[in-house]
Symmetry: C2
């Protein structure tokens, strides 16, 4: 089986990740931060180590600003609901995933207004449109870093600058880029970043991160036992405890820690260059086929990750199924939980066939894939 669904979750993981999870479960998966015995302390150490690895990757000083969540969706909910209060205004784009759209639409019930910035046909967003949408009540700007449908990269740094020039908080949804596109949080000008552990960070599912910049004040989404201030009936006010109630996913986080160590050791630029080589080869071949529509930009500097295509007007789910059953190629068809992005690029009915390559895909696999598409086109 050729796995090309890495935008949903990366697979396979480096062997060290499997070993990291198993080793933790078998040897020291006590409850971190709860008890004082050796195994509990060892569990707490791997959690801290994972925060430190994240800091190293994203150039952040304080490991306690890296909050563990269940997934990037929880990170986004925590950030959006933690910042916005009744009467506030939020700006986002039509290229967002439902993990951004749905919380914002839900908040409309609480008198929080929103503006969804239009995208062009390639999924691009003009930062000036964001600037124009700012009003006196705008508290938050949320954008994805790269579309999960078209792979279009949004100009995060420019958007961050606009936000800060107006004293507005900027939340970046890094679901499609964290781990693949090198990011320096200290210069990127973001205040909050939602990060999945299980995509390009190569960690196991069940891990997500919210980065909270110093000075950003956020309400928590959940309260509960934190192992700290145990005598208090209210949630502690300090990071990370304020946002991490209940037992963490210690084995998952242990796997994430070694996954990031793997990325740092192999270097992000090398891993990213490999994936870009695969994408360039793939795009070069298929964009010559007149029956195939490629969405988003073809040029590499404007795109990351997901490559969405269609074959004439054929149903995208049907193409995905043929690829799966006849060619053993796993891709995602249909709509990709980003309904306004599909409207923007005109695929709300057809959906798209989405290919997303990972660091373990090979040129041979891409060639198999190109061959399969040519055969589907021909038949």
């Amino acid at each position: 089986m050729i796995y090309m669904d890495n935008a949903a979750t990366s697979w396979p993981k480096p062997d060290c990740v499997y070993n990291g999870v198993t080793n933790c479960m078998k040897k020291y998966a006590a409850n971190p931060g709860r008890s004082g015995h050796g195994m509990s302390l060892q569990a707490a150490r791997i959690i801290l180590y994972a925060r430190e690895m994240l800091c190293k990757l994203f150039n952040v000083n304080d490991p306690f600003r890296m909050i563990f969540t269940a997934n990037a969706t929880e990170s986004l909910n925590l950030a959006i609901k933690g910042i916005l209060k009744p009467g506030d205004h939020v700006i986002t784009t039509r290229m967002e995933h439902n993990s951004v759209i749905r919380p914002i639409v839900e908040l409309q019930k609480q008198a929080i207004t929103s503006t969804f910035i239009n995208a062009d046909r390639k999924g691009g967003i003009d930062p000036q449109d964001i600037k124009k949408a700012i009003n006196a009540r705008t508290k938050l700007i949320v954008t994805t870093h790269a579309s999960n449908v078209t792979g279009t990269i949004l100009p995060a740094q420019d958007i961050g600058k606009i936000a800060h020039d107006h004293g507005i908080t900027y939340l970046l949804d890094a679901a499609q880029t964290a781990g693949s596109i090198p990011m320096d949080f200290s210069t990127l000008g973001i205040d909050l970043a939602a990060i999945p552990g299980h995509k390009s960070l190569l960690g196991p599912q069940g891990t997500g991160i919210l980065y909270i910049a110093p000075g950003i004040d956020l309400k928590q989404l959940k309260e509960g036992g934190t192992g700290s201030n145990s005598e208090s009936l209210t949630q502690p006010e300090f990071c990370p405890d304020k946002f991490e109630s209940g037992t963490l996913n210690t084995p998952g986080i242990a796997g994430l820690a070694v996954a990031i160590r793997y990325i740092l050791y192999e270097t992000q630029s090398k891993l990213n260059a490999h994936v870009k080589k695969l994408e360039t080869h793939f795009l070069g071949e298929i964009s010559n086929l007149p029956e195939i529509t490629v969405y988003g930009h073809i040029g590499q500097h404007l795109r990351a990750g997901a490559i969405s295509i269609n074959i004439k007007d054929r149903d995208s789910s049907e193409i995905a199924e043929i690829l799966d059953t006849e060619h053993k190629i796993a891709v995602r068809g249909g709509l990709h939980c980003a309904p306004l992005a599909h409207l923007s690029i005109g695929t709300q009915r057809q959906g798209t066939v989405r290919f997303s390559f990972g660091i373990f895909n090979t040129i041979d696999e891409i060639d198999t894939c190109i061959g399969a598409l040519k055969r589907i086109v021909r038949d």
Copy 2:
């Protein structure tokens, strides 16, 4: 190392759990419910299988009423905040964990009032006190099934009956009992149950469950991609999707599925009898030592799980540290994230030394433990 901190998280797990997690990660950890390819469907199948195993263990018909969360704390937050609206009243007890207390205290800011029922010195709660506290605005009763400090079992069935006689929803915090005390949700009369996957259910950390009985209407805590109704800007209204946004912890849930299969195969009664035998032996020996105070009930029918003790007026954390460093016995000292329970039994300053045995502890280990306590008492 002798691990006696199973009330925090069970360890070790049965070998099949390690294998279940690893096998999932290596062979089929695609994103469940998102794509249509074979690996994604296989991931979705193990999630459904885990729901079915839960249904079998708790005698529930509909697997889609078993919602996966990050931990029992999230389950409690989802249930409490999903039910209560401004103006409502909630009844709970002073034996609760901070995972119940802190969300309720937080909700006081939203004009939700609460009554905390007093416990006796052994941690017992009189259901009649709950009945007396009901008023016209009482919407929810939340109680733990067994105290994580004293192990005292609360009369869940009686409390459930009182709740239903008054048309009030009953939420059971089964953190200390799910997997160890056999429970039939269809006869127990509970509407919502918060369940950790990683304690007596023997699954990995990073797994929690909220059981939602048919007819119980709950608001979600988070919105996002669910893989369903992908074209819609609002959260789906059906179970489990309404409550499960973002990528699930597939490997963790795969481990949980085989953990419950293990419990069903070995039978809960056999596993529980083994732990009870250990507890009876331990309690029998240490309750004869005049220097040791045992909290809660000694008799087995009134207690489950945690056994809290103190040695004269010595600091509980210090005793836990001696047990760890000098005797290689892992227990928890101090306060156990249940401040009102400590007040109820009079240990708010001293905390308690908490022993919690698991299915893999042996009589020999208990004897080592008793020997260590005798030596600490003597020295």
